[in-house]
């Protein structure tokens, strides 16, 4: 309870999800009515929290379930609880709430399925997916005038966002799904390159005898983890493009969105040189001289993210993936490369 300027107590209205002025479930308009502020403030806060941490979605759903709708005495969660307890839903308010819950669940499931379909379509038929987004936009514009399929807003936007994410990351899902492991026995097997749509692709080159001169390895992964194990005694140059994720090449690493990586150290005369040309849409590219722990646990350890210091602390003792000792060494005092070594990781594009 608050006090007005004249000392009279001001009663806040009961917190309910309003029907008037709602966009989805009446959470923001209800909060705004309760606190007597503009609903746009809560909408911006929820959207911001949803984009930057996902907390906004959880918070919105929690309020949606815990706060009753205007004109209804019970919250949706109590209705669900009664259902689990085997009690009857017999009042008209109960039935209306139940119908609303069924529709909301169906819309959310439809949005999730459409997002998955959009991601797959964008990763396999980019042009078709782009035109599908145009069609979804046209349907939404039309529905604004006809006021018929307002429920399509959430699934339509989910589809468009999924397609946009996959397109911006340049994810190519062609080439199969699953875990692939290759251990080539001759250089002729390497020349064709390797490609996988989604999953884990590991190429172990440690048994190969590399000749003097430059050998190229082209690797491409749509989504997941790509590991290249290189032998010691070979100078490794890495050039990679990661739409979103992490690249680690022996002693150096970078992470973020739109990561363009190019590290081109030079070998002493007579030393073999391997150029790894990698392209990963969403995920990680690792060039290591020993097997690395894979999955999220391994990512946390060798990227320096996660672990005991929590997420997004990017300098907590990352694990080295190996050493590029066959190349000209970097200047130990300054950490900068020697004249013979040209390393230009695009740190500006990474986070």
């Amino acid at each position: 309870m608050m006090s007005s300027s004249e000392g009279e107590p001001i009663r806040r209205p009961r917190l309910v999800r309003t029907r008037r002025g709602r966009l989805i479930g009446g959470v923001c308009s209800g909060l705004a009515a309760h606190f007597d502020v503009d609903p746009i403030l809560f909408r911006i806060a929820f959207v911001g929290l949803a984009i930057f941490s996902g907390v906004g979605i959880v918070l919105y759903l929690a309020i949606l379930l815990l706060v009753p709708e205007e004109g209804v005495s019970r919250a949706p969660i109590s209705l669900l609880w009664r259902g689990f307890a085997g009690e009857q839903w017999h009042t008209s308010a109960d039935r209306r709430l139940l119908r609303w819950l069924v529709i909301a669940t169906a819309v959310v499931v439809c949005a999730a399925l459409l997002a998955l379909a959009g991601a797959w379509l964008a990763g396999t038929h980019a042009q078709l997916a782009a035109w599908a987004v145009v069609a979804v936009g046209a349907v939404l514009v039309l529905s604004a005038f006809t006021r018929t399929i307002r429920w399509f807003v959430l699934p339509g936007v989910a589809f468009a966002l999924a397609v946009a994410t996959i397109a911006a990351a340049h994810v190519d899902l062609r080439g199969g799904v699953g875990d692939r492991f290759y251990r080539p026995q001759s250089l002729s097997e390497v020349h064709g390159g390797y490609q996988l749509g989604a999953g884990r692709l590991e190429i172990d080159l440690r048994n190969l005898a590399f000749p003097a001169g430059t050998t190229q390895l082209h690797v491409r992964l749509g989504m997941g983890e790509l590991v290249v194990l290189v032998p010691r005694g070979v100078c490794v140059a890495t050039s990679a493009r990661i739409g979103g994720g992490f690249v680690g090449a022996l002693e150096r690493r970078s992470a973020g969105l739109d990561v363009n990586w190019s590290e081109r150290p030079s070998p002493p005369p007579g030393t073999p040189r391997l150029v790894v040309d990698g392209n990963v849409g969403l995920g990680a590219l690792l060039v290591a001289d020993h097997p690395v722990e894979h999955g999220w646990g391994g990512w946390g350890r060798w990227s320096g993210w996660g672990g005991e210091n929590g997420w997004f602390t990017s300098h907590n003792h990352p694990v080295a993936l190996g050493t590029n000792e066959a190349c000209f060494p970097a200047d130990a005092a300054s950490g900068s490369p020697t004249k013979a070594t040209s390393r230009t990781p695009a740190e500006g594009a990474s986070r």
Partner: protein, 63 residues
């Protein structure tokens, strides 16, 4: 009398349509689509939708 369009849904549709055009250009190779360009566009579209919904609810409140 003809009912006016639902402004937030209309803005949403226009934003998705614009995003679709960007995606078509990206898929055709006309522009290089990256997160650096798409994220600001998406945030701007989101701002436009929120602004439209705020203005629409204010107009409803007045009327």
């Amino acid at each position: 009398m003809r009912r006016p369009p639902n402004i937030p849904v209309l803005m949403c549709g226009i934003a998705v349509l614009a995003l679709g055009v960007l995606l078509v250009l990206g898929a055709g190779g006309t522009i290089d689509l990256r997160f650096a360009y798409t994220v600001p566009v998406l945030v701007a579209a989101l701002g436009a939708i929120l602004l439209a919904s705020g203005l629409a609810s204010r107009r409803r409140g007045r009327g």
